[in-house]
């Protein structure tokens, strides 16, 4: 029986704070439902306290008998996840009030999913990684179906559940195989065994393939991407924003830990070929299919598939350069998506109907701030300077070129060119086409507009001055590659 030490508990203080907040929300919901208006504030306080705790307490390194590694990397990922959650909660409040679904469970589930993602990203043992993944996924099944009266939302929840269950099965089976091959679930032990053997034996290769497959579902990488458009389109927009960012971040970190620990780049040309194939296929399919979408959220789903393809390039390169590139890309991806989804959460009339790009016509002058925020985020997603999306692509492709993958960089930049085409469609609908005859009624929300504007400002400022993010990412990744 493992008895937690004081250091163990302090190390997961943010997770504990979030769990307590979630429990508190459920209790208040049960006994004082009149306070519902303040739930988002309460959840926000919990998240801010968690950020404070992560920044305030010393980073102890290995805790919980070496199962978790609370170091600079964990801190970087935790804070990035928590910032994403702040955006989610900020847009959730007005959104839930508008759709008359504001209850405490929503925030409680978001916070529990957050804990899951944080555990997943800071664990160095396959068992807590799996626990984290489940804790992350189960609340999301519910959250996607949160708009009970909307068929598409229920459908989204069900789809995500079925796909998620399959992904979990893959992951568990992969873990079992790796355990069988190496007699350990510890990533460091597995990594050093595999790396020193200099090759992937069949058992390890199959186990790894299953784990990557399971994670690929969460990342919506080709060929495990098919759920993404329907789930993105159907789920409540704040949940979609969360779903687009947080699980993908956690899954990428796990993938990076695996790839880097086993030194896959150098010992396994099969891995490089397979991963590069996945990256190229995700980019190409995501971008090309996005062109024909008429629904903004579906379009962003395909764009997300493509973006994870770019991030995969950095995972392949791994090491100090590639690892830092993964982290920078995550930060960029989070800000751009949060800004975009916040804008869409506001520029939406009814949740059970599609979010047509055509409905955005003329909004550039009707809702200047939100439209400008959305435009900024879309240009950034397309990789146009001076926004952070460009900086992130620069860092990723720089890592690829430096490691000799010039061709991956070429495919990547050509893909971002293709992507410009569909991002521009939204921009020109907003600015260059007149308002439609039947003007959609978009409810203005100061809170959502602020969230969108803050995200867009972040996209601009960190795009012009990316040095702090780069520095933090490089420090964080040093603990992994040391």
């Amino acid at each position: 029986m493992l008895t937690p030490t004081h250091a163990d508990l302090v190390a997961i203080a943010p997770e504990i704070i979030l769990t307590i907040t979630a429990g508190l929300l459920l209790i208040v919901e049960a006994f004082l439902p009149g306070l519902r208006r303040h739930f988002s504030g309460l959840a926000m306080v919990g998240v801010l306290a968690a950020i404070w705790a992560r920044l305030h307490f010393e980073l102890p390194g290995a805790v919980w008998a070496g199962m978790m590694q609370i170091d600079e990397l964990a801190a970087f990922v935790d804070i990035y996840i928590l910032v994403a959650v702040i955006f989610t909660i900020a847009m959730a409040g007005p959104f839930l009030r508008r759709t008359e679904t504001e209850v405490g469970e929503f925030y409680a589930l978001i916070l529990l999913a957050t804990v899951g993602a944080m555990v997943m990203a800071s664990s160095v043992n396959l068992l807590p990684i799996f626990l984290g993944l489940e804790l992350l996924s189960i609340p999301l099944y519910v959250l996607n179906a949160f708009l009970r009266r909307s068929q598409v939302s229920v459908e989204a929840g069900l789809k995500y559940f079925v796909v998620g269950a399959v992904a979990s099965a893959f992951l568990v089976y992969g873990i079992a195989l790796l355990y069988g091959a190496t007699a350990s679930t510890d990533l460091a032990v597995i990594g050093s065994q595999v790396a020193s053997s200099g090759q992937l034996n069949p058992l390890v290769a199959i186990g790894l393939a299953m784990i990557v497959g399971g994670l690929a579902f969460k990342l919506a990488l080709v060929p495990c991407h098919a759920w993404a458009p329907d789930v993105y389109q159907g789920g409540p927009t704040p949940v979609t924003a969360f779903l687009a960012v947080v699980p993908k971040g956690a899954a990428l970190i796990v993938l990076l830990r695996l790839a880097d620990g086993m030194d896959l780049l150098h010992i396994s040309p099969q891995w490089v070929a397979a991963a590069a194939g996945i990256a190229v296929a995700s980019q190409t399919l995501g971008n090309i299919v996005a062109i024909v979408q008429s629904d903004v959220k579906r379009m962003l789903a395909y764009s997300g598939i493509a973006h994870m393809g770019y991030a995969m390039v950095a995972v392949i390169v791994a090491g100090a350069d590639g690892g830092a590139a993964v982290l920078v890309y995550l930060v960029a991806y989070t800000l751009m998506n949060m800004g975009a989804f916040a804008s869409i959460a506001m520029l939406s009339e009814r949740e059970d109907r599609p979010h047509f790009i055509n409905d955005l016509r003329g909004q550039g002058y009707k809702r200047p701030i939100v439209a400008l925020a959305l435009t900024t985020c879309l240009f950034s997603l397309a990789g146009v300077p001076p926004f952070i999306g460009f900086t992130a692509k620069f860092v990723v492709f720089r890592a690829a070129v430096n490691e000799g993958f010039v061709w991956l960089a070429v495919i990547g930049v050509v893909n971002s060119l293709v992507s410009a085409f569909y991002y521009l469609r939204v921009v020109y609908a907003m600015y260059m086409q007149p308002l439609p005859r039947r003007e959609p009624k978009f409810q203005f929300s100061f809170q959502i507009a602020t969230a969108a504007a803050v995200a867009a400002l972040g996209v601009l400022i960190l795009g012009i001055y990316p040095t702090p993010i780069l520095e933090a990412a490089q420090t964080a990744i040093l603990v992994l590659v040391r």
């Binding site: 492709f397 720089r398 070129v401 410009a420």
Partner: protein, 497 residues
């Protein structure tokens, strides 16, 4: 002050754009006045670059460097040599001109128009002064967004198509340039062990890239990636198809900046990067560039000849004129290169003036079809005179600016490439044909369209708009030394590499 002058000057339009933000959008006059004052001040300050510039020094002057992304060896590094000096001044000169030209336009979103203008100005100037390739790339790409909006929001009926085409075409070229820049950075690290994307560092290592070993030699691929970006921007035949669409749909002010400055960014890139960084690959590519330049000269002229729309005619004439610039660069002698740089300025002045003049008549008649005009000389004598001077400048009448540039290019190219010169000379003749024919159909003959009878002649404000360009057109024609002098040393250094 001189120490940070260049960087501050580059940023200053953005600062003015930020100043415009809090002003309410229905105060249209305030926006116009602030932008006009701002751009005039920027031009006035930029003359300090001219007076403070030492023409005998071929190195970069007004150099300014600030730390930016030290992890990758990227810094904010700007500087000016004789070539960029002229282009920066051309940019700052055209700024107040276009602002004044848009003065009376009765269009929507005046505030946004002025903000996009100013942001575009920062991008254009930054492109010409950057000495770090990361910085250069950012400025280069930044110009896309404002221009996309200028064409797409304030343009003609097919504006969305033109705007998207402009954006996508330009981006096609530049994304591969990004990979080339990354590759050069990696190569620099291989050679020296230091991470850098600085132009002056690349000058040392990039020429070492191998160009032998077939078409996949790294030097040639890097050259091709840069060349594609610049060829689309110039535009060199056959990459020119975005240009007529963009020009015809863009509002007058957009066309002026597009022709006056944005196209120069391409030719400038060829000199600054392809020629200076990759001289060996340049030598291999010269025949191709020459051929495309000559094709562009003749093709542009032939297509211009049959255009029914004045603006489209001027747009195709740009293809022809930029062909001369590329011919001068490819010929690679001191005279032809200096001629090419001067011709860039000339083209900015004359084509800019032509677009302004076409815009004035469009504001009066809402048509640009040559067939709708005829005999305008009787109702608009002063306008006709100015139009004629600019036309003659454009087709290279001795005593006006076009002649000097074209003469230098052709004379300089003669010793090495006589055939190209002969063919280009044909282009000059064709140029005279289509321009004069257009003038004849618009201004001479009977005034047969009754709608044109009441047209007013050029107004004082409009005269002020074209006056600075006219002065320079004559000045360069009579005494080009003023402008050839400062770039001589820089061109000599460029060709010595």
């Amino acid at each position: 002050m001189d120490q940070h002058l260049l960087f501050l000057l580059t940023l200053s339009p953005t600062i003015f754009a930020i100043l415009l933000l809090p002003i309410p959008k229905h105060w249209k006059r305030v926006h116009r006045v602030v932008t006009l004052i701002g751009s005039t001040v920027i031009f006035a300050v930029s003359t300090r670059l001219w007076t403070g510039f030492n023409p005998d020094n071929p190195a970069f002057q007004f150099v300014d460097q600030h730390q930016w992304i030290p992890q990758f060896g990227i810094s904010i590094h700007v500087g000016l040599d004789g070539i960029s000096l002229l282009l920066v001044l051309l940019t700052t000169l055209l700024l107040p001109v276009v602002v004044l030209a848009a003065w009376s336009l009765n269009i929507e979103h005046i505030k946004s128009l002025h903000i996009t203008f100013l942001l575009l100005a920062t991008g254009m100037m930054g492109t010409f002064v950057s000495l770090d390739l990361f910085l250069f790339y950012i400025f280069w790409e930044i110009t896309l967004i404002p221009m996309y909006f200028i064409i797409g929001v304030w343009g003609g009926p097919r504006r969305i198509y033109a705007a998207v085409k402009f954006f996508i075409f330009t981006m096609v070229g530049s994304v591969l340039m990004l990979v080339a820049i990354l590759y050069l950075g990696w190569f620099h690290h291989q050679q020296t062990g230091v991470w850098s994307y600085d132009y002056l560092d690349f000058l040392q290592t990039a020429p070492l890239l191998s160009v032998s070993g077939g078409w996949l030699a790294p030097g040639l691929l890097v050259f091709a990636a840069f060349a594609l970006a610049f060829a689309i921007k110039v535009p060199i035949f056959p990459f020119h198809t975005w240009l007529p669409d963009a020009h015809v749909e863009a509002p007058t002010t957009g066309s002026v900046l597009l022709a006056g400055v944005l196209l120069k960014m391409g030719a400038y890139g060829f000199m600054r990067f392809n020629r200076a960084l990759l001289p060996d690959a340049w030598d291999i590519f010269v025949p191709l560039i020459l051929a495309l330049a000559v094709i562009g000269i003749i093709y542009g002229a032939l297509v211009a000849m049959v255009q029914p729309d004045v603006k489209k005619l001027v747009a195709y004439s740009s293809v022809s004129h930029m062909g001369f610039v590329m011919l001068g660069l490819a010929a690679g002698t001191q005279a032809s290169t200096q001629g090419a740089v001067l011709q860039m300025v000339n083209h900015g002045l004359t084509t800019g003036a032509l677009f302004l003049l076409v815009g004035m008549i469009y504001e009066r008649t809402y048509t640009r079809l040559i067939a709708d005009f005829g005999g305008l000389a009787t109702v608009m004598p002063v306008y006709t005179g100015i139009f004629l001077v600019v036309t003659l400048g454009s087709i290279g009448l001795p005593g006006l600016n076009g002649f000097v540039g074209e003469f230098l290019i052709l004379a300089g190219a003669w010793q090495n490439y006589p055939l190209a010169v002969v063919l280009a000379g044909l282009g000059i003749i064709l140029g005279a044909v289509y321009m004069l024919w257009m003038v004849q159909r618009i201004f001479w003959g009977p005034l047969d369209n009754p709608k044109n009878e009441g047209l007013s002649d050029i107004r004082f404000r409009e005269l002020m708009v074209v006056a600075p360009l006219l002065v320079l057109i004559v000045w360069i024609g009579i005494y080009p030394t003023t402008f050839l002098n400062p770039m001589e040393a820089a061109v000599r250094l460029l060709l010595a590499r």
